[in-house]
Amino acid sequence: MDNHSEQHTQHSHGYGIYVLVWLALMALTGITVAVAGINFGKLTVATALTIATIKTYLVLTIFMHLRSESRIFRVFVGVALLFLLISFILLFTDYSFIVRN
């Protein structure tokens, strides 16, 4: 019974937090575009991906309510992302040796 009333109220974020996250996302987009003009060499891609990851984290936790969702949701998402990461890592342990011409 208690559980039931809980599931209807747990997502009640204020409007304010969404607007704040939106402002942060817009600012990060601006930074990505501005930084893209600067050549950091090999770090350029890393910078772009780092900013994209921060933006994704904000969308996942606030817009997609993962912050207020029960723990099992975060575990599921974490496992899904971990396996995607493993795919990239395994692939590049191979490719970074093959393509050294």
Binding site: Y18, T44, I62, F63, L91
Partner: protein
């Protein structure tokens, strides 16, 4: 009538499971796009200079503008759920309609962007494209498939949100039963996340 309705709703509803189901579907989307991002990463790794040259053909201004549009549509989607939670039905409908308008704006920009590429003879299988080095052909192949598939998701999202708006108007979605709107929101934010990665990887290669 209303007593009966709420009694039935309490027996048959499990909002947490509904959202979990939606997340499981989103993981299959992650596999779909993740596979393409893996393909992209390998080809970019093997053809860095050609990817750099080809990316210069893309319009960064339209790309940035579209990023802003999609991020804003994610905001209006999140706000529509916040509004329905507060029993502000009309406000929720307005936010949902705004989301649809922004999504359509995104597709209009996409139309002009692709139109310009086609005008310059850059489209899959064109003579202009096939005369370019293989790395650039791969870049544009990935560009059309990945942004095309993303665009398809945007169109599907518009249809889904339009249904949600109709449901909200007919009180199928209400302040104490809005899990459908939440699921639509989850889908829409995923489309946003995919674009968050597509944008720098295609438009901002230096």
């Amino acid at each position: 009538m209303s007593v009966q309705h709420s009694a039935a709703a309490h027996i048959h509803r499990d909002d947490v499971a509904s959202r979990m189901g939606m997340w499981l579907f989103l993981f299959t989307e992650l596999l779909l796009f993740g596979g393409m991002f893996i393909l992209y990463s390998v080809y970019r790794f093997t053809h860095p200079n050609e990817f750099h040259l080809a990316a210069k053909e893309l319009n960064t201004v339209i790309g940035t503008f579209n990023t802003a549009i999609l991020l804003t549509s994610s905001l209006t989607m999140a706000l529509s759920i916040a509004a329905i939670q507060r029993k502000q039905k009309s406000l929720s409908i307005i936010f949902q309609l705004l989301t649809i308008v922004l999504a359509l704006g995104f597709m209009v920009n996409k139309y002009f962007e692709w139109g310009a590429k086609f005008h310059h003879g850059i489209y899959p299988g064109s003579d202009t494209l096939l005369s370019k080095p293989s790395g650039e052909i791969l870049f544009f192949g990935l560009y059309y498939v990945m942004t095309g598939l993303h665009g398809l998701h945007v169109i599907i999202g518009v249809v889904i949100i339009a249904f949600m708006t109709a449901f909200t108007m007919k009180d199928v979605i209400t302040h104490d039963n809005y899990v459908k709107l939440e699921a639509a929101g989850l889908y829409w934010h995923l489309v946003d996340i995919i674009w968050i990665f597509l944008f720098p990887l295609f438009y901002l290669i230096t």
